[in-house]
């Protein structure tokens, strides 16, 4: 069952220097219970995409267009078309989010219990004691030792990893069908990252929820995702099943990313292969392929087509599409 279907989503931020085209006409979908990874480097638009769907971008400063059809507990809704006051009823109930920095994502002045109870109360007309029981249950579930007494603690009394567990407990308190995890382990140490990732995996199975995992880390994606969208300069440049993507990356950018990750599982070479140059300015995107100025395979395409025409996201093999003139199927 398709849980969420995003069509033609664009987000622009007008600035004195021009409009920053953070997200450009992207479409994707996610099935119930599935894990979709959105991979990209900083500024690729992966976070903005999700903030836009959640209605968390300031409507005064962001121009948003497109549709996002979501199967909520009340039936199908369009996350991008719905009234903001209406959307609020689905946030935290059908769709929850966890963020990159657990140190700053919890309110420093309220106890963690109060913050979780509040998240439960706002969507459930139940006695606060019921919400408290639920909060304790979830804190236990995410691995906070002695949750019944820790519930009165404040965020600053927890380590970064523990705070991210609290954030996860808070996100799951209403049994969401979709969890958006925005760089959930980037701010954490590697050994703690391993804990959180394995916790998320277990909870996803237990709660039968779909997860959109936003990350820049291809290692994290390899272990966690079912499908992957690679984003570059506000566009999806490749979309595939995780095994296909790593085995046969179709877009030179994906290939470049995979090559530039330092790897421990391969015999160590002294030089890393880097992608030359910088990502383009999001105010004046190039006419052609956004990656063309950095692309090592640009000479494989005749003329300077790559610099003039933006390739479409086309299907390569079953459910594997890429935005590149190289390897396009004839007639596609």
């Amino acid at each position: 069952m398709t849980l969420l279907e995003v069509k033609n989503l664009s987000v622009g931020f007008p600035t004195p220097d021009g409009v920053v085209h953070a997200v450009n006409d992207i479409s994707f979908s996610i099935d119930a219970g599935e894990t979709l990874a959105i991979v990209g480097e900083s500024g690729s638009g992966k976070t903005v995409t999700n903030l836009a769907m959640m209605g968390l971008l300031n409507s005064n400063t962001a121009q948003i267009s497109g549709t996002a059809r979501f199967q909520s507990h009340t039936g199908e809704i369009d996350l991008l078309g719905i009234d903001p006051n209406e959307l609020q009823k689905y946030r935290g109930q059908d769709i929850s989010m966890i963020f990159q920095d657990p140190m700053s994502s919890l309110h420093p002045y309220f106890s963690i219990g109060d913050q979780i109870i509040e998240a439960h109360q706002v969507h459930n007309k139940v006695d606060p004691d019921v919400s408290k029981e639920r909060a304790i249950e979830l804190l236990g579930l995410v691995g906070i030792p002695d949750p019944a007494s820790r519930i009165t603690s404040f965020p600053h009394q927890f380590s970064g990893g523990m705070r991210q567990r609290v954030m996860i407990a808070m996100a799951l308190v209403n049994n969401p069908s979709l969890l958006i995890a925005d760089e959930p382990t980037t701010a954490l140490d590697v050994t703690v990252q391993a804990q959180i990732l394995s916790l998320l995996k277990d909870l996803q199975r237990e709660f039968k929820m779909a997860v959109i995992l936003i990350t820049h880390d291809l290692g994290v994606v390899a272990g966690a995702a079912d499908r992957v969208n690679v984003m570059y300069a506000g566009r999806i440049v490749e979309s595939a099943n995780v095994f296909d993507l790593y085995a046969k990356p179709a877009m030179p950018y994906t290939q470049g990313l995979l090559d530039s990750v330092p790897r421990l599982d391969r015999p160590h070479t002294n030089r890393l292969s880097a992608i030359p140059g910088q990502p383009p300015s999001m105010i004046s995107l190039p006419d052609g392929c956004s990656f063309a100025p950095r692309c090592s395979r640009i000479s494989e395409v005749a003329g300077s087509k790559c610099l003039m025409i933006m390739p479409e996201l086309t299907l390569r093999t079953d459910a594997h599409s890429a935005r590149c003139f190289i390897g396009e199927r004839a007639g596609a």
């Binding site: 959640m54 968390l56 005064n60 006051n85 609020q88 009823k89 689905y90 946030r91 935290g92 109930q93 929850s96 989010m97 963020f99 920095d101 700053s104 994502s105 919890l106 309110h107 420093p108 002045y109 309220f110 106890s111 509040e118 998240a119 706002v122 969507h123 404040f154 600053h156 954030m167 808070m170």
Partner: protein, 332 residues
Amino acid sequence: MLSYISRRLGVTFLILLGVSFTVYVIFAFLPFDPAALTCGKNCNDPGIIEANRRRLGYDLPFLTQYWVFIKGLFIGRTYGEGAALINCPAPSLGYSFQEHSCVTTLISEALPVTLSLAIGALVLWLVVGVGLGVLAARYRGKFVDSASTIFVLIGTSLPTFLTGLMLLVFVVIKWHILPFPAGNYTPFLEDPYEWAQILFLPWITLAFAYAALYTRFVRSAVIETSNEDYIRTARAKGLPESEVVGKHTLRAALAPIVTMAGLDFAGLLGGAILTESVFNLPGLGRLAIGAVVEYDLPIIVATTLLAAAIVVTMNLIVDILYAFIDPRVRIA
């Protein structure tokens, strides 16, 4: 927490002792003779001066004088003997020969006036400053925001005495909205209506400048806080906007206001000299100014000491309050 408070109390006591000594030193070595001043400006009779000197204890060595002064604070103090005996009970701050009264009595008469003035103004400026500041931040760039900017500009640039005089001229003299506050201060317990009527204009005068400052401060604090990650978390939970702003944002944005308000309030208790003068209110500020003009040393020493005591005590109160507001400070 208790040990923290008791430690702070000890420090506060030491600071006050230091301040009192410094004040005493400054006034003891001023180039005029306090005894000579006691018998009027044109008194030349050395006999009377010497008698007064003995009566007031100015003949004692400096340190003994200080000791007697401090002792007086705790056990009271007598001047002269026999029929001319004057008794200033504890806490005695000395005796004013010009006013023919114990300084403590003078202060206890003036303090309620200043207290009434300061409390009323504090309430007024907090309500206006916080209210307007929040509105301006919430509707940034809209009409309320521009209006508040003008208010801030006028409030911060108009000197208090000018505001006071203008209010007097227009509200009282030209438009006859309020009767002339002719220096006949009425205590609250005697006639609350009369009390409020007399203090109304002084409150506005005093609150005006502070309200402007607080509006500016609250506006930027609210804007800054709304960009915090934990405010995004609050929205992502699905809280209604009213709670996101009213609970989560304000709680964090207003914490520093407590410190600011406490210290500003303490400053006012030392005497709102200009406002009291313009409206002819018999408060501490006027008592102090009168004493300075008349070289009435005991009053000067006492009011200075009182102002210092208020500031130091208020600092302590603010710090303790802050620990209750911000859990991160609590464990220290």
